[in-house]
């Protein structure tokens, strides 16, 4: 039994297939205006039904799914409805058997599959991204050397606006196969800053000043508590490390620069006001043979 026999289809030989397939002119000559009208009405009805279902899904699922996910889901539902209507009505309209339609469909899928591997790969990756939803519109992400705010997540690609306003279009399969960092996936995010002070400055005093700033700064979270501690003693300075948590959905945590601009100048000003200064790079040089430097005492006395 061949594969068609499995499905009890009535295509005994290729000649029958040929006889079933009439010429294009004959097909269209047999279609009445009424049948065309029913076909068009069917597609319009499927389109309207798709819109109604989409609306209900949006109303009922908006608190569970993100906007991008809803867009893709409703798009797929609308497309499936129209394909089903075409699949049901086209054989009758063109007077073709289901077998011919199936063969045609398989051939079209095979051609599309061979010629558009990349497109299909992107679509599959898009569906995977939809399911896993590692990010959504409005999130700030970093992927493959690109950082920016997600403008849209589509079936084939993701569009990102970088902090300098550049529009970047990334195919879904590229995103799916690489690392993605999402600044907004969690509700809070920790930032780390380093501040160097001079050796002669009071470390405890400097820590206290910075802690006070973090305590009074509205957007530094109370819990987890911020931390200030000596993280390194370098050749030129004592390095204080500052760790503080901020809400991820705050506008200044959209990118790292905005937050630095808001926090670091306050710390610098407060430390300087307390007489604690940022150190200059310095080196003490020792000579193996101490050179004799003549001192002009006469000019000094003048």
């Amino acid at each position: 039994m061949n594969i068609l026999g499995l499905f009890n289809l009535t295509v005994p030989s290729a000649t029958d297939v040929e006889s079933t397939v009439t010429s294009d002119n004959d097909i269209f000559a047999s279609i009445s205006p009424r049948e065309i009208l029913i076909f068009i009405v069917g597609i319009i009805a499927a389109y309207i039904l798709g819109l109604v279902i989409s609306h209900h899904i949006r109303v009922r699922m908006s608190h569970r799914l993100k906007k991008d996910q809803l867009d893709i889901l409703t798009g797929i539902i609308r497309a499936v409805l129209i394909i089903v209507v075409i699949g049901i009505s086209l054989p009758g309209l063109l007077d073709l058997s289901v077998t011919i339609i199936l063969i045609g469909l398989v051939a079209i899928i095979a051609i599309i599959g061979v010629s558009s591997q990349k497109v299909i790969s992107n679509m599959v990756a898009g569906l995977a991204l939809l399911y896993e939803s590692p990010f959504a519109t409005g999130d700030f992400i970093s992927t493959g050397g690109v950082s920016g705010t997600v403008v849209s997540v589509r079936l084939f690609s993701v569009r990102i606006r970088t902090t300098d306003g550049v529009y970047v279009h990334i195919p879904n399969d590229q995103i799916y196969s690489t690392t993605v960092s999402n600044n907004h996936a969690n509700v809070a995010r920790r930032y780390v800053y380093s501040v160097g002070i001079r050796y002669q400055d009071d470390v405890k005093k400097a820590e206290g000043i910075i802690e006070k700033i973090l305590e009074t700064y509205t957007f530094v979270l109370k819990n987890p508590a911020p931390a200030v501690f000596v993280s390194d003693i370098t050749a030129d300075s004592v390095v204080l490390m500052i760790r503080a948590w901020f809400p991820s959905n705050w506008k200044l945590t959209q990118d790292d620069i905005s937050l630095s601009i808001a926090i670091l100048p306050r710390i610098k000003d407060a430390l300087e006001a307390a007489g604690i200064e940022m150190p200059y790079a310095q080196r003490v040089i020792w000579f193996a043979n101490q050179p004799t430097i003549p001192i002009d005492t006469a000019s000094k006395q003048r």
């Binding site: 969690n186 509700v187 509205t218 979270l221 109370k222 819990n223 987890p224 948590w245 959905n249 705050w250």
Partner: protein, 229 residues
């Protein structure tokens, strides 16, 4: 059309500038000024849910207070202070729209739970009172919190997290709320608000959530699933 209110910390003024109404507010140095492109029949200045400033980052209010030990089956009513935010509303044609929100209370945010599954909260530290304390109604409100331990273990409580979308705020001599905290286990508690007005605060405040056009889907309170300490 003109309106003016002033006390040592707050000044609100509405002036008619050749048909264009100018709104000005000065709250302890925080100034706001804007022109209104429409007329209105009334202006309301009322307390609102304290989760709007300096920008809306959360709808949860967390009050931290000294530790309180509650035995299984025990019930205790305590009084806490919470921050007050003041909303200015314009009424016209039976509709009330928010115009401005300001506050004299300090603003601080916190995280309740873990960064991946927790929530950002508007954080406020209060003392624990067994008698009604004196409050500055422009700055702080009074919450009557009824704590009930329905669990089987003695539990320490030092913070309460509330969902502002289920908040019922009243005003009169002071700004007040009545809340309940039911401890289900040392890790889980359920907080809700009462819709009944306290005796000295008969007036219900306008829900800013509703005034902004949001629909309230949660009137069932909040489950604190990250502990009560």
């Amino acid at each position: 059309m003109g309106f003016s209110y002033a006390d040592p910390n707050i000044r609100i003024q509405l002036t008619d500038n050749a048909g264009l109404i100018k709104y000005e507010r000065d709250c302890a140095g925080q100034k706001e000024s804007r022109y209104l492109g429409r007329t209105f029949s009334a202006i309301h200045i009322l307390p609102v849910e304290p989760v709007n400033l300096p920008e809306t980052l959360t709808h949860f209010l967390e009050i931290s207070f000294p530790s309180l030990l509650i035995s299984p089956g025990a019930e205790q009513t305590v009084y806490l202070k919470f921050p007050v935010e003041i909303g200015v509303f314009l009424e016209s044609g039976g509709k009330t729209d928010p115009l401005d929100v300001f506050s004299l209370a300090p603003v601080k945010f916190s995280l309740y739970g873990s960064p991946s599954s927790g929530v950002i909260t508007r954080w406020y530290e209060s003392d624990l009172y067994t008698d009604i304390p004196v409050t500055d109604p422009h700055r702080e409100g009074l919450m009557s919190l009824h704590i009930k331990n329905s669990g089987t273990e003695t539990t320490t409580v030092s913070r309460a997290v509330f969902d502002s979308s289920s908040m019922s705020l009243f005003y009169g001599d002071r700004v007040a709320m009545t809340a309940t905290m039911e401890i289900l286990s040392p890790l889980i508690a359920h907080t809700t608000f009462s819709d009944t007005a306290p005796a000295d605060c008969p007036n219900r405040a306008i829900d800013l959530y509703l005034a902004r056009g949001f629909s309230i889907t949660n009137r069932k309170g909040y489950f604190m699933e990250a502990g009560t300490i």
